[in-house]
Amino acid sequence: MGERSALLEGLRAYRLIAGMWVRSSMTYRTSFIVTVFGNLLVTGLDFVGILLMFSQVDSLGGWSLPEIAFLYGLSVTAFGIADLVLGSMDVLGARMRDGSFDILLVRPAPVLAQVGADRFALRRLGRITQGAVVLGWALVSVDVDWSVPKALLVPVMVVSGAAIFSAVFVAGAAFQIFAQDAAEVQNAFTYGGTTLLQYPPSVFGKDLVRGVTFMLPLAFVNWVPAAYVLDRPYPIELPGWAAFVSPLVAVACCVLAGMAWRVGLRSYRSTGS
């Protein structure tokens, strides 16, 4: 079986499992609608916080409200997509503790697809919707001299951003195989990451910005390309082409995360009970 057919098989397994969870959540239709709405509200609180801040000030770190909304919309939409696709991975630790992870290993489908689709929750569309609405508002109200490359960067940022966050989720899952109970550590990078990227880089210390640019390259989800689109200086010196490398960064992240996942899976030891 070649790599290609393995990938297709994984996607097929993912589709089937996700479909099963969607059907099961649709059994309680009212509950589903309420939770989508609730998800939209919960994830929107961060933006309400930003709006409250801007009821007191006109700019934050030198960035205006539409500009921060632009960052926010990109960060939340990209994270929302990754969260919808792979967001249930934080139950992995629990699955390993109660032994039900072993069941996934003996099924004739790629484990990553099974884990990713596990408890697939369509209610997470709430976050994507909310992020997209803010992004839409930002796009019409932000003061930008639009050009073709700038306009193209917007969808590129959303897609590469989603891929970068997905890589973080997969790496987090690999980490859970070793850490098990310490599943919450990955929240610092997933939820923490999307929160960080909602604010302009000028707000943060240079070392922190350096860290998320060169070590854990979350800055390529929105900070670096958005600074180019909005014509804002980036706090640390970067070459001009850096604004366009997000897709490459995303591919590199996914490859590394995939390798980490394989290493993790190979060293998994069942609890044996």
Binding site: N39, V42, G49, Q56, A182, S202, L208
Partner: protein, 266 residues
């Protein structure tokens, strides 16, 4: 066994139960610290733009952030304390066993939640707070009196937080499933406790309203008492009034629930 010792044993049991998961505690400390750092920078930028917002200076805003991270798990701001277990027991019908016990239902769960809060405070709250104090300028009192008053507000905050969550959890007797109310608890908890922004920085009439809601007793009051921004006795009275009101409401709802509702089970 005297009834005082019974509730003490329940509290100690809850403390030990949460203390068992050491890796999870370390992970929680790490996550709270990361979030604290992110929030501190955004608050510093905000206070840079508007000094003395809400009557705080920058050091006080920083102190508020780290106190929020310290109390986040302690007071189960977004849920996940005793009420989570209580909801599950109501949903499965196991609550029937609790009702049979020769103990007061509300006190039983309060004792458990206090034990949990104490562990979360010591195991999960103190380290991020100390991290903040070491790496960022904070406005901490140097005399004993404000710290003593702070401990009292924390105790009262714990009771208010429990009373609120207990009240919400009881609704599962009628709703059968806690998913929706959990979400409400999460939204209101994060927003009205001032996790997003200190309540004293909320604008206008909206600010006036959120500052008298019970959630204000959770982070805003302890922060203001610690930093000497409010009269401690007034803060105690505010917290105690909400604690009594919410506990009483919880008792009323509890007696209605146990009298009229058929326990689930099979």
């Amino acid at each position: 066994m005297g009834s005082g010792r019974l509730y003490l044993a329940v509290a100690a049991g809850a403390f030990r139960r949460y203390a068992t998961y050491r890796a999870a505690t370390v992970a929680g400390v790490f996550t709270n610290t990361v979030f604290g750092v992110i929030l501190v920078y955004t608050y510093l930028a905000l206070w840079d733009e508007k000094p003395h917002l809400g009557g705080y200076d920058q050091a006080q805003a920083v102190t508020y952030v780290w106190l929020g991270q310290c109390l986040y798990a302690t007071l189960a701001i977004q849920g996940g304390g005793a009420e989570k277990d209580l909801m599950e027991r109501i949903r499965t019908g196991e609550i029937a066993v609790d009702l049979y016990r020769p103990a007061d239902l509300q006190l039983w769960w309060l004792a458990g939640d206090v034990g949990r809060a104490l562990f979360q405070m010591l195991g999960r709250g103190v380290v991020p707070f100390a991290f903040g104090a070491v790496f960022f300028p904070m406005a901490l009192p140097t005399s004993v009196t404000p710290w003593a008053a702070f401990v009292v507000t924390l105790l009262l905050a714990t009771v208010v937080s429990f009373a609120l969550r207990y009240l919400v959890a009881l609704s599962v007797f009628w709703l059968m499933d806690g998913m929706g109310v959990n979400q409400v608890l999460m939204i209101t908890g994060i927003f009205f406790s001032g996790m997003v922004l200190p309540l004293n920085a909320f604008p206008g009439v909206f600010g006036d309203i959120v500052r008298v809601l019970p959630w204000a007793a959770q982070i805003q009051m302890p922060a203001d008492v610690l930093m000497g921004e409010t009269d401690p006795l007034g803060a105690f009275a505010f917290q105690a009034a909400w604690a009594v009101a919410l506990l009483a409401a919880g008792r009323l709802l509890q007696s209605a629930a146990t009298r009229r509702v058929v326990v689930q089970g099979g």
